[in-house]
Symmetry: C2
Subunit: 136 residues, 2 copies
DNA sequence: GATTCAATAGATTCATTCATCCGTTTATTT
DNA sequence: AAATAAACGGATGAATGAATCTATTGAATC
């Protein structure tokens, strides 16, 4: 089991960060990216398609085609990407899986996990793909 | 996908905490526990078997049989249970799934996730099942 | 001793995630 | 116009996690 994100999400982040790390290149093929980031190419291609649908990437078919980051993606946080791929569960679900967990019926670590999660959410929502790219 | 723990682990924790919450009862059947904690009974039974093997629980077969917390379990932290069921991945794996992530080749959130994880580990390792039980 | 009731062990089913394959579409190059 | 190279879409397959089923073992009760 992955730690925080699904494989699809991990791969997507790796690919996006790779793209952000070299803004010179304005067109990336999945083959290239997959090779550079050591991710399974067809799987990466699939999740990139959902990113296209969500206006994170633009794609062009045919020769010299490929993927490119959209301008608006510059303002997207890493958490935004995570939410698109994995949904909001990391940001809102009970850590112990208690369906009824909430202020009125808190699980044993409701308060504590709440604080920790807030920090996590802060770390992920205060940084863009480009911030991530710089750190590599 | 679960947030932090596998379903097996979530169910195990629910069951164990339920047991710790009522130390009067010294023998629990899986049927009882599963009903009280709203967990799938056969699945709970399976993971309880691994807890027996790891000396967290003792079991007795036959009539009036069931499971009981061992004395030594009083000193076990919740993290100990998590490690038994899910392995140490939560405590040590890279959040982004970078195989090479480490001090020499850190991923973009290596440092930050490290701090957050430390807090999480602290929360889970500083509390016993009985501490959890009290909070319910 | 026979019956009952519980955990145990192994096999099996089911669902989800992970990953690949292939035919189609689209744009470029020759 | 034909060939090429890329994303796209849908189907398919593999691996893992979640959950169930069944026969067996062992202990208490009758």
């Amino acid at each position: 089991m992955p730690v925080l994100f699904s494989r699809a999400c991990e791969y997507a982040l790796r690919g996006l960060v790779e793209m952000a790390s070299d803004p010179q290149i304005e067109q990336w093929t999945v083959q290239d990216l997959a090779q550079r980031t050591e991710t399974p190419a067809p799987f990466l291609a699939k999740t990139f398609q959902t990113l296209v649908k969500h206006k994170v990437l633009k794609s062009t078919k045919g020769r010299h085609g490929g993927f490119a980051l959209l301008e608006t993606t510059k303002e997207l946080s890493v958490l935004d990407i995570v939410h698109i791929i994995d949904g909001p569960s990391l940001s809102q679900d009970c850590a112990l899986g208690f369906a009824e967990c909430g202020v009125d019926a808190p699980c044993p670590i409701h308060e504590q996990w709440g604080e920790i999660r807030e920090q996590l959410v802060h770390v992920l929502s205060s940084q863009t793909l480009y911030d991530f790219a710089e750190k590599l």
